[in-house]
Amino acid sequence: MDAKNLIAFRVAQEMKDGDVVNLGIGLPTLVPDYLPEDVHITLQSENGFLGLGPLNGKTLPNLVNAGGKPCGMVPGTAFFDSAMSFCIIRGGHVDVTVLGGLQVDQEGNLANWMVPGKMIPGMGGAMDLVTGAKNVIVAMEHATKEGGAKILKRCTLPLTAAKKVSAIITELAVFRFIDGKLVLTETAPGVTLDDIRARTEAEFVVSPECCEMETPREVQPV
């Protein structure tokens, strides 16, 4: 299983039955594939509905996800306008948002929407989601493609929101923000504390209960 799917699996174990969840584009969209059988969540799509589902069979007109791709909807779906969508998001009615990150720092700051001079796509709904969701999970590969740290002492890129991140889940580790401190709570099988320190610039505390990160029990051979 590749890093993205390992991360998505671990994120899925964070979900509680009944949670209202908003998933960012990319890696976070893999999360529903790994939900425990007894956990049922409702997906919020920022473009205006609750009840996003997998695309089963034929596409319906005007039914797309927040990436503009055709999608499905579950029985009991509700559509609404963008003001209502962001009332739901900012108003604390979304339990969990899962987003990718370019940088996260030890203060709980997230940067994931622009690289000055290189990539300025815009923030879309990310600033509202990170500000308003009860739990903000950053799901990302631990280091950059060049091996550089992404979990930093202080973000250098423009922030998405200040001090709002609840947890960081990578293929190597799980960190949580507890009482304003970055705390290492899980390490992936075979990964040592030194491995994590070598790939993490931020200062962090190791939880006394730090344990092995849960990974899929059976990895199906390809």
């Binding site: 005007n62 039914l63 503009g68 963008s82 990539m119 796509p121 815009g122 509202d128 308003g132 001090k163």
Partner: protein, 221 residues
Amino acid sequence: MSQTSKQISYAALRPRLRDGMSILFGGFLGVGTPEGIVGEILDSGVRDLTIIGNDTGTPEVGIGVLVANKRVKKVISSHIGTNAETGRQMIAGELDVELVPQGTLAERIRCGGSGLGGVLTPTGVGTIVEEGKTKLNFDGIDYLVERPLRADIAILKAHQADDKGNLVYQRAARNFNPIMALAADFVVAEVDEIVPAGAIDPDLVMTPGVLVNALILAEEN
């Protein structure tokens, strides 16, 4: 299909279009954008437009064709990443882009059409979005004062309208359309179907017809 007082042709929109005007456009990545009206604006040749909406679509889809054809002077939007031409013109200094968080954009437009002087939102606090804005603290929480947005014209896409202009949207095509119906001097909706007044269950109307000045029946493609 009965001819109604609010129904006009695409061509009848021409006298309303002029250089330098501001346009609120419905849609999310083109879904819920009135493609026929966008085409009419393109064909009219007007330029130096200010366009306000969620995103700039792609160079071929949604409002993006106006950007790709260099008709736009300023974009107020939450996301431009799917239209490489928007970014290229911005970096080249040909296009002014104001990026606004999506929820803030929705509230600013709602304020613009609701008689409100602005909205207080925590979104953007501690980021570059707060630059130049008034910050207020209530009960220990910082908020940015975000000011209303209005435009000369709002172009909407709805699924169904009745003779009075009452609108029903379809699925995720609703998005910014109902809010924009409040916030422009002239509001025109492109619709798939026009039915007689009374044919839409009043409980299911999503935009009251008094907000809509004109209806255009979408051309079958």
